[in-house]
């Protein structure tokens, strides 16, 4: 955008020639000299206008509607059924449905921690190793990326029936725990592995559900990071090697910092994936102890006799969390741009 106001900018010089060559240019008389023809302007308007329109109508309008609906009691049928109830839904979230809400918030936090501490570093590691042009890199890449490509129905089948099934699942067969009374109920045992306060903590079956999330996230991060690594100037690494740095030092001090834009993208993706996580829990049928915010939203709103007000209140909680992160992210990005 800035280039449009600076005629001396090299990028806009071609526009200037077009503008002068165009006899039908409407800008005459009192108008300030502009480098844009009517066509340019229309194209620009369309390029800015269409995405803005889509963004506002598909993101902001629904978000604001959700916010407004969270103050109502509405079953989703006729508008005259809607009843304004003020903050009651929010009050109920913290008094009546508090167990669901706290469990969900905590589970979202667990996903964030596990993706951030295990999945993302693992994805970066895999990308770094595969970038070494090993034999069969393409095969490894496909293998690691495969979970991202698989349809969710297949993912559900793999984890529920092939891996975690109590009798014929791979895990219990390998551990020789398939007998009655001896089986490990991977998806059904909501006892806590880590207990924070009384009823709240990390349940065993949620940990079992985090595993497929990590499985998918690693492939996703790997592809992104691999693309970034291809763009790193090899001479930087050579220079680091000549200066005597070992593999870890050259990654930590040379490669990683030079990939800053990619790192930020990965950070953003990890946080957003953790907040909006829904699909894998849903295909594994959301066993007890595995609620997250997006599950509570859909449970309240989907289906018959839905409770749109409460579902929207859950949605607003999720929006606030995303918002906090986005504000932080934008601030840090713009601060760097200014510097």
């Amino acid at each position: 955008m800035t280039s449009l106001q600076h005629p001396s900018d090299a990028a806009s010089s071609s526009d200037a020639t077009v503008s002068e060559a165009d006899p039908s240019s409407p800008r005459k008389g009192r108008r300030r000299y502009s480098l844009l023809t009517g066509n340019d302007r229309r194209v620009l308007q369309a390029m800015v206008g269409v995405p803005t329109f889509l963004h506002v109508s598909l993101i902001w309008v629904p978000a604001i509607c959700t916010f407004l609906l969270s103050f109502t009691n509405w079953n989703g049928f006729r508008f005259d059924n809607m009843e304004f109830v003020g903050l009651r839904n929010y009050k109920q979230l913290f008094t009546v449905f508090e167990k669901d809400l706290y469990e969900a918030l905590l589970n979202n936090a667990w996903v964030l921690i596990f993706l951030f501490v295990i999945a993302t570093p693992l994805g970066i590691l895999v990308a770094y190793i595969l970038d070494k042009n090993l034999r069969g890199t393409a095969v490894y890449q496909s293998v690691f990326y495969f979970p991202v490509v698989l349809s969710l129905a297949v993912v559900g089948f793999i984890w529920k029936s092939v891996i975690y099934s109590p009798r014929q699942g791979v895990l219990n067969v390998l551990l020789n725990r398939t007998e009655e009374g001896n089986q490990i109920s991977w998806l059904g045992d909501s006892d806590q592995v880590i207990t924070l306060v009384s009823d709240y903590g990390l349940s065993k079956n949620f940990l079992a559900i985090i595993a497929p999330m990590i499985w998918r996230h690693v492939g996703y991060i790997m592809v992104l990071y691999l693309a970034g690594l291809k763009a790193v100037d090899p001479s930087l690494r050579e220079a680091a090697a000549i200066d005597g740095s070992n593999e870890w030092q050259s990654f930590k001090n040379v490669v990683f910092p030079s990939l800053k834009p990619v790192n930020i993208v990965i950070l953003v993706i990890t946080v957003i994936e953790a907040l909006r996580v829904f699909d894998i829990i849903d295909v594994l049928n959301n066993p007890i102890g595995t609620d997250v915010l997006s599950i509570l939203v859909t449970e309240s709103i989907l289906g018959e006799s839905s409770n749109v007000g409460r579902g929207s209140a859950y949605g607003v909680m999720l929006l606030m969390l995303c918002f906090g992160f986005v504000v932080w992210y934008l601030r840090s990005t713009f601060r760097e741009d200014d510097a």
Binding site: E83, A153, S185, N285, E304
Partner: protein
């Protein structure tokens, strides 16, 4: 499979198909308009019998499994009015259920597959489905129980029941024959049998709760046996209290029976549990008779008995027997054809056609041909006709939102029965909030 995994693609396919139909309708608007006008001549309104309607009729169906899908097609093929072009729009079962409000509000289909009882009443009270009392005036062979299950708060009928199945205790005839087990008729006999099975190295009850709905059947059965049908219906309607001693008693009894059940139910699918019964590792399984659909071998080997009496003052007459059927949307495009189709669906002709493709359920019409019934169907039919009260299953008898809260509570209970008092207090709190929202709407 379709019971366990929603198929996101199915909805897209449905939307695509709908828009094709709509696009076609726009192009052919004149033709359709023409037929409606023509129909105005005499057949626009329902005449009480099949034959005068014409035009296109859209049926929305959740029959995505092969057998029910073929069954509905057979019903349509048997429709005597050849002037009506019938289009069946089938959606994946779970997707259909989750999107039913959208489907109803779109009013694209004239006739929709749905469930009797509370869930029929709810849509009728919302004005989303049409009054079909005039169809009921012409229906023969459906008992009062079916009519009650089709009636909404205003006393009119909004639903045509076509088939049902029963919940009972299923077992393998082979295992029982080898070990000499006999069907118990009282709770003491049931417990004695369970102890016998334990000493034989067989887990008495298979138990699975993937999806958090299967064990609702256990709650229903115990509540019906210990507190009776009226109490159960009241409780489902939001009137009884969950902290009541009678409800607590259900959980005390359930807890005493838990040691006879398989462990880790929350992580097991009903199919896996049915396989355990089929292969003789577990002795009994309280589930809908659809358990037979687990495999052909099991269908041949399975038998079942009614949940025995727990309290002689209450008896063993009530049971869960979910009824499936069809509704008409409130503003159908082709009302005459919709009503003729609904009337047709209530007849033995249509129900025989359906059962020829899907023998896992029982026809609602007493005139249906029972001579083709297999043993399981015969028994189901006898069980239901002898019943003193028929409930629809917990998630069909109460607000779906609240059924979800019950499902969570039951799942938690079987893992941690000691914490039941806190859970019941919590559930009661949720019940109050959910029913208050519901009744205000």
């Amino acid at each position: 499979m379709s019971n366990s995994y929603p198929q996101p693609g199915a909805w897209d396919a449905y939307v695509a198909r709908r828009s094709v139909i709509k696009g076609g309708a726009a192009v052919g608007a004149f033709a359709v308009g023409g037929s409606v006008l023509a129909a105005c001549g005499g057949g626009d309104t329902f005449s009480g019998e099949i034959g005068s309607a014409s035009g296109t009729l859209n049926i929305g169906s959740n029959a995505s499994d092969p057998a029910p899908q073929a069954g509905l097609q057979a019903v349509v093929n048997a429709f005597p009015n050849a002037d009506v072009d019938v289009v069946i729009n089938t959606l994946d079962h779970n997707t259909y259920q989750e999107n039913i409000t959208t489907i109803l509000q779109a009013q694209d289909d004239d006739v929709l597959a749905w469930f009797a009882g509370f869930r029929n009443k709810f849509f009728a009270d919302q004005g989303l489905v049409g009054d079909i009392s005039d169809v009921w005036e012409n229906i023969t062979g459906l008992g009062e129980g079916f009519k009650a299950a089709s009636t909404a708060s205003d006393g009119n009928q909004y639903f045509v029941p076509t088939s049902f199945y029963t919940w009972a205790i299923n077992y393998s005839k082979k295992l029982w024959g080898e070990n000499g087990y006999t069907e118990p008729t009282t709770s003491d006999e049931l417990i004695g049998l369970a102890e016998q099975m334990m000493s034989d190295g067989v887990t008495p009850f298979a138990f699975a709760n993937d999806g958090k709905w299967p064990i609702m059947g256990t709650f229903d059965a115990l509540n019906l046996r210990l507190n009776g049908y009226d109490f159960h219906v009241d409780l489902m309607g939001g009137n009884g209290s969950w902290t009541d001693d009678r409800v607590r008693n259900v959980f005390t009894t359930w807890e005493s029976l838990l040691p006879f059940h398989q462990e880790g139910a929350n992580g097991r699918t009903w199919q896996e549990a049915a396989t355990d019964v089929e292969e003789g590792r577990a002795g009994m399984y309280l589930l809908g008779t659809f358990a037979a659909s687990n495999s052909e071998a099991f269908a041949a080997d399975m038998d079942f008995f009614n949940v025995p009496e727990f309290d002689s003052a209450i008896g063993a007459g009530a049971l869960d027997a979910p009824i499936d059927g069809f509704q008409m949307v409130s503003e159908p495009t082709n009302e005459a054809a919709a009503k003729e189709m609904l009337l047709h669906m209530s007849t033995p002709l249509a129900q025989d056609a359906y059962l020829s493709e899907d023998p896992s359920v029982v026809a609602s019409n007493s005139g249906a041909n029972t001579s083709v019934y297999n043993d399981l169907q015969k028994k189901s039919s006898e069980l239901a006709s002898a019943a003193t009260g028929i409930s629809q299953f917990l998630d069909r008898d109460t607000i779906p939102d609240f059924a979800g809260a019950c499902g969570d509570m039951f799942a938690e209970f079987i893992e941690n029965p000691g914490g039941v008092d806190g859970m019941l207090a919590d559930l009661e709190e949720k019940k109050v909030a959910i029913f208050a929202d519901f009744n205000a709407g």
